[in-house]
């Protein structure tokens, strides 16, 4: 149980005080030898004595005894530590060869003794030179408060220099005081705030268990402390929900933003948009496949490499669709909807025929796996990067729309197609580019989705209705509407989930959007003015 580091630390300490160590060694050796034949009561005494020497070299013995790794060799009468197949001397840690006819019997301990051992060890490690050792010891006291250890803790607190460790020690002390019967009411009152500030997520548990045995005078203090903690826990839970919502919202944003462009600029409903997302995901899969076979060194960067590839592939397909189908259907939005739906069926079935109906895997790069704890919020890296990615895509798109000639032309066409055409803007070219851009962004969304969803031919179908809801909710012709719409829906979804369950929450969202549309038929960020009233 003791880390090698700890052992090293103890060894260092023993080297620093060689004389003391030498003087005690014989005494310790004798006591350890006596452990072999001792009964429980004697064993308890020996443990206390060993601990009172304060010599770090007894730590392995005590640890082994607590863990049930200390044995008596009946043949030679030696006490040894057996760890797996290695047998070592309890004091020196050197390997021991007991010969062939060894007969090891475990030195038995009961729970009471085990508690004594850990208290003894805790006391010894509390005074250790290594802050990490002290920290883990203090945490041990925090987890198992025992009034008997109070003097020990007081002593350690007085000597402690590390603020971090000190905090834990004080919390442990406060916890111990609360559970102690001897402590005065004032002491107990004073202990409560220390627990609140120090015990973190377990503070509520600690206080709740202390509440039952606490004297009546202290109870209100504890109760209000618990109430306060629960409130802040609710705030954190809400924040965690916000994060989940933002994460979902950014996925929705990625999926919907391309749709918003084609719908906003061209008035075209692209039901095959989801399939563009799906194709982006399969492109990522293929890119990774190629990289794994030919350039395994680049595996960690395959997602980054897939981004431009997916953008170009789906963008080119988008331009093809626009030139091949959609341009013949301008002015007939409902027909466009049907034709692109037909296209989505064909694309799905094509992918199903090529790759099969089963899910494909894209391996996450190392920098996207794992998670971090951010002030108590669990944040997984893949979600984190998707949020960042969605923001990057969104702002890039804003830049394209607001700062490039193509963007200028797109906005011109959005506002007044006939006039734009009269001004010499090649509206068919703008349409093709717009559709290509929208599809390309769907492809980028597909790359991101490989990290959180199964890659299957139906991938796009899971997002298309949600994406439409975002666009309809946010309003057409304004990217910020899509942005706000996506995040609002994401967060609302995650907030409804705990109360209504995932499915019912989704139903509620749909119903709410349907009701919302009644009030704002053109969405949240609708363009206003007489020109739009038609």
């Amino acid at each position: 149980m003791l880390t090698p580091l700890l052992r090293l630390a103890l060894l260092t300490m023993s080297l620093l005080v060689p004389t003391l160590a030498q003087a005690q060694t014989t005494d310790i050796t004798a006591r350890i030898a006596a452990m072999g034949e001792a009964n429980l009561k004697e064993l308890t005494q020996i443990v206390t004595d060993l601990a009172s020497t304060g010599d770090p070299s007894v730590v392995p013995v005590l640890t082994a005894l607590g863990d049930g790794n200390l044995y008596l060799d009946e043949t030679s009468g030696r006490v040894v530590i057996q760890n797996g197949s290695t047998i070592t001397d309890p004091l020196t840690g050197e390997a021991v060869d007991l010969g062939a006819d060894t007969d090891l019997s475990r030195i038995r301990v009961n729970n009471g003794l085990r508690r004594d051992i850990s208290a003894a060890l805790g006391g010894m490690t509390l005074m250790s030179d290594n802050p990490r050792t002290r920290l883990s010891a203090a945490q041990g006291f925090l987890a198992n408060p025992d009034p008997a250890t109070l003097p020990l803790l007081d002593e350690a607190i007085a000597a402690e220099t590390d603020a971090n460790v000190l905090g834990v020690m004080q919390t442990a002390r406060a916890t111990t005081i609360l559970s102690s019967e001897d402590a005065s009411i004032e002491e107990k009152q004073a202990a409560v705030p220390q627990i609140v500030s120090g015990a973190g997520r377990s503070a509520i548990t600690v206080l709740t268990s202390a509440l039952a045995s606490a004297p009546d005078e202290v109870k209100p203090t504890i109760q209000s402390a618990i109430a306060g903690l629960e409130q802040s826990r609710a705030v954190w839970a809400a924040l965690q929900n916000v994060w989940f919502g933002v994460s979902l919202g950014s996925v929705l944003l990625l999926a919907a933003i391309g749709l918003a462009i084609t719908f906003g600029v061209m008035g075209v409903i692209n039901m095959a948009h989801g399939e563009m997302v799906m194709l982006g995901a399969y492109t990522t899969f293929l890119v990774q496949l190629v990289i794994r076979q030919s350039f395994p060194g680049l595996l960690d960067y395959s997602l980054l490499i897939a981004l431009p590839v997916a953008f170009l592939v789906t963008g080119a397909i988008g331009v093809g669709i626009e030139r091949g189908i959609i341009r013949w259907l301008y002015g007939r939005p409902l027909e466009t909807l049907l034709a692109t739906w037909g296209l989505s069926l064909i694309l799905q079935q094509t992918v199903r025929s090529i790759f099969g109906p089963t899910n494909q895997m894209v391996i996450a790069p190392t920098w996207m796996s794992g998670s971090t704890d951010f002030f108590g919020l669990a944040i997984t890296y893949n979600r984190f990067w998707i949020v960042i990615f969605a923001l990057i895509v969104f702002f890039m798109l804003l830049l394209i729309l607001n700062r490039t000639p193509l963007g200028l032309q797109m906005r011109a066409v959005t506002q007044n197609r006939r006039m734009a055409s009269a001004m010499g803007i090649r509206t068919p070219f703008v349409d093709a580019m717009t559709f290509g851009l929208g599809s390309g962004i769907a492809g980028l969304a597909g790359v991101a989705l490989t990290q959180i969803d199964n890659i299957s031919p139906n991938l796009g179908q899971n997002y298309i209705i949600d994406s439409f809801m975002v666009v309809v909710f946010g309003g057409v012709g304004n990217l910020w509407g899509t942005f706000v719409g996506a995040l609002t829906l994401g967060v609302a979804n995650k907030f409804l989930e705990p109360y209504a369950g995932a499915v019912l929450g989704k139903i509620l969202i749909l119903v709410l959007i349907i009701l919302f549309i009644q009030r704002h038929p053109r969405g949240l960020f609708a363009l206003k003015g007489r020109a739009i009233e038609q």
């Binding site: 206003k528 007489r530 020109a531």
Partner: protein, 249 residues
């Protein structure tokens, strides 16, 4: 309220803005029963927006809009306003192109507009006589069974005027009725409108000055959403501000 008495249409201090742009700015206009009023003005003067406000398509931000001296139009929707007796002809002729000319008039004919009234409607002899009469007036009787889509631009204008007549409104709002018409058609239209104005109030928006002269009515010149000048055509066209802003030198 009392100010609106004995008026067919009463606009007082009406304003509406789109995204900060004041399309109508403190506009006040009165039309009396059986009066014809011609409205002229440059593009963007707010003529069409004014009609949108009267017919309930646009809600004003401020101001009073009263019909027939007692009905507040700002709270009502298009269909209710139309049924009160306000008919509108649009700048661009809009007739129901996949219906025959006869059906266009039959739909416009003043009758209860309820769903089941329409479902079980059968044309009475009176209705047939009335539609025939109107068709005769707008000179489309010989083409009554053709699709409205097949009409020329000018004929569509006339069909739309016919639909207005079929609605039997108290107030007609007529937006550029002679656009795309020949001179003789224009003359005929002016005659027809003068005839109509004997029994109803008519508001005509038009750019064609000779047509406005033929109407011989009171003239209001709008600019930037407000009344610039008012009076007979001669008075208005002599107004230096009107010459400056609209007619040009």
């Amino acid at each position: 309220m009392s100010k609106a008495q004995d008026t067919m249409l009463y606009l007082d201090g009406v304003s509406v803005a789109f995204d900060g742009f004041k399309a109508i700015n403190n506009l006040s206009i009165i039309v009396r029963p059986t009066e014809m009023l011609a409205i002229i003005g440059p593009n963007g003067a707010g003529k069409t927006t004014m009609m949108d406000i009267i017919t309930g398509k646009t809600r004003p931000d401020a101001g009073e809009v009263m019909f027939d001296g007692r009905t507040d139009l700002t709270k009502l929707d298009e269909a209710t306003i139309a049924n009160l007796g306000i008919g509108r002809k649009f700048q661009k002729p809009t007739v129901f192109e996949s219906h025959t000319i006869w059906d266009n008039l039959e739909m416009a004919l003043k009758k209860p507009r309820g769903i089941f009234n329409a479902l079980f409607y059968t044309a009475s002899d009176d209705d047939i006589a009335r539609i025939t009469d109107i068709l005769d007036t707008v000179r489309l009787l010989h083409r009554k069974d053709e699709f409205a889509a097949n009409l020329s631009h000018g004929q569509k204008q006339w069909l739309e005027i016919g639909m207005l007549l079929a609605q039997d409104p108290k107030l007609l709002l007529v937006d550029e009725p002679v656009a795309g018409m020949t001179d003789s058609e224009t003359e005929e239209t002016a005659k027809l409108l003068r005839e109509i104005a004997k029994t109803r109030s008519v508001v005509v928006v038009e750019h064609d000055m000779s047509f406005v002269r033929e109407l011989g009515s009171r003239v209001v010149c709008l600019a930037e959403g407000a009344v610039l000048a008012e009076g007979t055509l001669d008075q208005v066209s002599a107004n230096p501000v009107v010459i400056e802003r609209y007619l040009g030198r």
